[in-house]
Symmetry: D2
Subunit: 355 residues, 4 copies
Amino acid sequence: MADFTIGDRLKVTLFGQSHGPAIGCVIDGFPAGKRVDWDAVSFFLARRAPGQNAWSTQRKEADAPEILSGLNEAGLTCGAPLAAVIRNTNQHSGDYPDLLNVPRPGHADFAAGVKYGPAWDYRGGGQFSGRLTAPLCFAGALCLQYLAERNIRIAAHIARVGNVFDKAPDTVHPQFPLYEAGAFPVIDPEKGRAMQAEIEAAKQAGDSVDGAVRCVVTGFPAGVGGPYFGGLEGKLAQALFGIPAVKGVQFGDTQPHGSENNDAFRMENESVCTVTNHCGGILGGISIGMPLHFTVSFKPTPSIAKAQQTVDLKAMQETEMNLRGRHDPCVVPRAVPVVEAVTAIILTDLLLQGA
Amino acid sequence: MADFTIGDRLKVTLFGQSHGPAIGCVIDGFPAGKRVDWDAVSFFLARRAPGQNAWSTQRKEADAPEILSGLNEAGLTCGAPLAAVIRNTNQHSGDYPDLLNVPRPGHADFAAGVKYGPAWDYRGGGQFSGRLTAPLCFAGALCLQYLAERNIRIAAHIARVGNVFDKAPDTVHPQFPLYEAGAFPVIDPEKGRAMQAEIEAAKQAGDSVDGAVRCVVTGFPAGVGGPYFGGLEGKLAQALFGIPAVKGVQFGDTQPHGSENNDAFRMENESVCTVTNHCGGILGGISIGMPLHFTVSFKPTPSIAKAQQTVDLKAMQETEMNLRGRHDPCVVPRAVPVVEAVTAIILTDLLLQGA
Amino acid sequence: MADFTIGDRLKVTLFGQSHGPAIGCVIDGFPAGKRVDWDAVSFFLARRAPGQNAWSTQRKEADAPEILSGLNEAGLTCGAPLAAVIRNTNQHSGDYPDLLNVPRPGHADFAAGVKYGPAWDYRGGGQFSGRLTAPLCFAGALCLQYLAERNIRIAAHIARVGNVFDKAPDTVHPQFPLYEAGAFPVIDPEKGRAMQAEIEAAKQAGDSVDGAVRCVVTGFPAGVGGPYFGGLEGKLAQALFGIPAVKGVQFGDTQPHGSENNDAFRMENESVCTVTNHCGGILGGISIGMPLHFTVSFKPTPSIAKAQQTVDLKAMQETEMNLRGRHDPCVVPRAVPVVEAVTAIILTDLLLQGA
Amino acid sequence: MADFTIGDRLKVTLFGQSHGPAIGCVIDGFPAGKRVDWDAVSFFLARRAPGQNAWSTQRKEADAPEILSGLNEAGLTCGAPLAAVIRNTNQHSGDYPDLLNVPRPGHADFAAGVKYGPAWDYRGGGQFSGRLTAPLCFAGALCLQYLAERNIRIAAHIARVGNVFDKAPDTVHPQFPLYEAGAFPVIDPEKGRAMQAEIEAAKQAGDSVDGAVRCVVTGFPAGVGGPYFGGLEGKLAQALFGIPAVKGVQFGDTQPHGSENNDAFRMENESVCTVTNHCGGILGGISIGMPLHFTVSFKPTPSIAKAQQTVDLKAMQETEMNLRGRHDPCVVPRAVPVVEAVTAIILTDLLLQGA
């Protein structure tokens, strides 16, 4: 337990469950004196919001957060913890079966029952719900603005859906935006269309499909992180694995042999950089001043329309289950801003503590 | 900074640098009243030790740790922090060039120079040295014994070297030991020989090769971990990325479509388990009672004999570098017990805190 | 920064500022399956609430918290973070002068200006406001119920106001309640009346008065805590000093000589206890199974009606200040439940982590 | 458990037990590039060392620490964790009775037995031993040098022994050194002699006596700390209560009425300061730029020569105990540098994290 706080000097605490009154977050340690660009926050939250297109669940959300604290009369951040609340509306509780006693394969239901016992609020996945990535994105949106002031930019794209891979970005001189304006950020539009076809095919089959998000950070200074357990990879990974459905995190694009994988140092504009960037901008757990890049892989949505085998925990016997309801056949498109948000939170925390 | 401690209730703190007087660790929070099987500790440390065969550096280590505290007169753990020291001997400082001013590609040298400044003790990689995995394995060896008392077993094998993949283990009913007795743990001996050929080829070419370690844990109870930032994946990943050269961590073996990837629940011996185990024994960040399994990927050793381009930071100009010295052409064989050790430390910590 | 979270396995995060829209808290890690006694919560919050009598500020609060998450449909705690919000109403912003530029002596104004800069929301003391002890008491009220299930009881009384000392409780066999029903908990009612006279005198003089709260815990098991930095005293003290106006924490009632101060061990009902309890139930940082007791001292309310010397930070010159507004002439009476709440939170956290 | 680490960015981890092979510490996060003044370290450790005079135990210690890591070839701190070991010699194990079964009143014996069980190494108090303050002072000595570079000075004196109080220091313009050169640091030598008489009287009576240490810090910048749980008082207190025998911590010297206790702001040399310093240099949990000052109270040494009542835990019956051995009749004189050391560690940690 105590699973909903991340960060040291900047602490982000999430709260809520899928079918409770509200979800939200508390952001403690965000610098005072910042004017928030609320339009940018809204735009960022909209990128994560469901119901926008063919690829995502039709559940509508009114994700405009109410700010309960953290701003002064002039609307600047004031150093007090920033608390934001998003009311839950439009839940269809009736869509959900008795997940406590008949757990869905691939979902947290069974594990949650073991951990919390019968009081667990299984409706919509309770506190495991992807809904909580909305306040997480809210926190990330603020951090993105903090980082942008320091010319640090974060952008992610859909690196893969099923077997369709997007073109890899230039990780030495990344082009921004990596993604098109719109809800399906890819570098190569043709690959994007193939991915959408893959998602549509899965949907038609009552199935779902996996994928990956690649995230690129530019402008991050050299010297942040540390050896062993202070490594930048570990700090980012711990937070990224906190995103529902993430099963893998890979930094850089390791090449099989040292002679190809080692990034030769060179001079550019009188400063040191590397010719290639296979290391993902991190050596010895420490940033080297090159763009950071890493790939986060997501499992296919466990909610599928096909019949599945499970167990009835009351009867202690096997049974079959058919799920209904609105589900994303692929979580990856909506996960793109979530990856950016988590990255922004961790990098802001590290910069604030001078790590 | 403050990078060398991992764990909450069980805290393992490493210390040392490659060419200082000694390396070691402090283990705080290990349960009192345990009789350590020192032969098992020695055997475990020997699996990591260098100089044993053709695939590893010829540097000899006398890795028998001296115990400075933590045992009572009868030799039982007594609740005091367990401190262990391993003296450094057999360093060949002369083998190392001026890494502070001419950083090696792929190594921490440049990053360390930015972080620590000119006082950094670059000899042998300083505190970034893989040498510190020796005390880490010492801590892990104790934790493995603690876990074994609870019938929790951890075993890893070489999953990949370059393009050669070992046979995958049965992740529903794993066979132990996963690895042969010996220094090159694989499931399929033929694949093992092909991997060794790959390493030998890299060595002959003055090059190095990458790979991966797969780790399997049996007997771990259901209900440990939590949603979001309390997830088992994140806690393990943070520690695993602390191992030098790790660039990726993947849990389970995700299948592209939900219908294949979802592990159907079933009954076995009147308890709930799953038909497959693609989730790696973890759903919603929480263990489900099935074997845990995950794959840790390592980059190729950055130390290679081939000429490489780098920069002279004093002259601020590009230069060429030729490294000499004893280096593993592939870190993966010796990393196998390190992955087991780190896994043991984290799982012990979680069990001790009742998480 | 990141100052508003306390606890390890049970994490309580406060948010809000005095004149923002709302204050509240997030409680993560509270056990699932508990039915909250809301009447007991209300009664507990009412003990802290202002405006009840002659000794406290006349500001009215509608402190009934709204629960945003953490309960299931049946009203049981469900394992999700428990978020509670209390709306701010009845603020008289106009009562407060420009504290940013003319800081009040004894208040956080000057320090806050240095830490947060001009964006600090100084109205009502911002995030330093004692208002935030309302959600803190809410969290404490839940923990008190958790502890009561284990027969652990916490009660505090007003140990001192100015020079008037309450009778000391029996710390070997404490009588509960230590305090009368009512808003002025003392053991000796006569001393209580003298204290009230002291407060009234301070009020009449446009002044304020200091005091102390003594807290007693019964039923707490032996063996919790640890040596050095794991000590029970340190963990409690860190949290207790988080209460506004606390300047001292003293455990037990140390006697000058070892021969008097050492608590002789004895047998009672076939279990080990001590004859006296000068150690406050803690030896070597670890509970010994005797009642815990400690005294928390509070400074006099810095808000006084008398003229005071301060500086005008814009003009950088000394000036005189006259404060108006509603203030408690003594914070101690209302601090009693706050001390109980903080104690309950820390002890619950320790029990949950099996420390 | 996990009780021996303090600090966030600067982490100090102690290890050892009284009668094990060695004690020591690991200091992780200390800045690189510092040249340690080893004579100053030795002098500081000597202030804590026993056996120097009539007031302290006659046990001799060869407390010169061996440095195992953390220095480069040139002897500068290099960023690697600094590990120091002090060998245990001169233990008289025979002096100690069977503390596991017949616990000493006022000592940790009984509590340790509950926490660790029979494997606890009770000889000399095991890991509860004041011996571990030697490596703590070593860590503190380094931090004092770091702080001195920033013109931050820490000095403590014996504020009280039994009923004898030292003169209070000027807390607005403290005079350094607060203590005489020598092992008995007081401001008023006459009071010092009376304290020594008090200690000698306790010793002659086979008894012990309590006391207090006051610590003053000058040069500490304004703006460090935070409201609620980020308060400077709480962070210092948690660490100070880690010193064996500490039972109370008081910040500043609170006056009974707000009109006296509030420290009026004034201008001096064009900067803001206060006329008095009753707040101990801290308002709202944040430093205000005035000297910090606080008082740490110690219980009388529980080891006394007088007969005491205790219980025989095997027989479960009361018994009498007579202790022999070498004990300080008052821990306060030797605790003075320990208080300074702990203060230095916490303040260094806070400055390093930019808190």
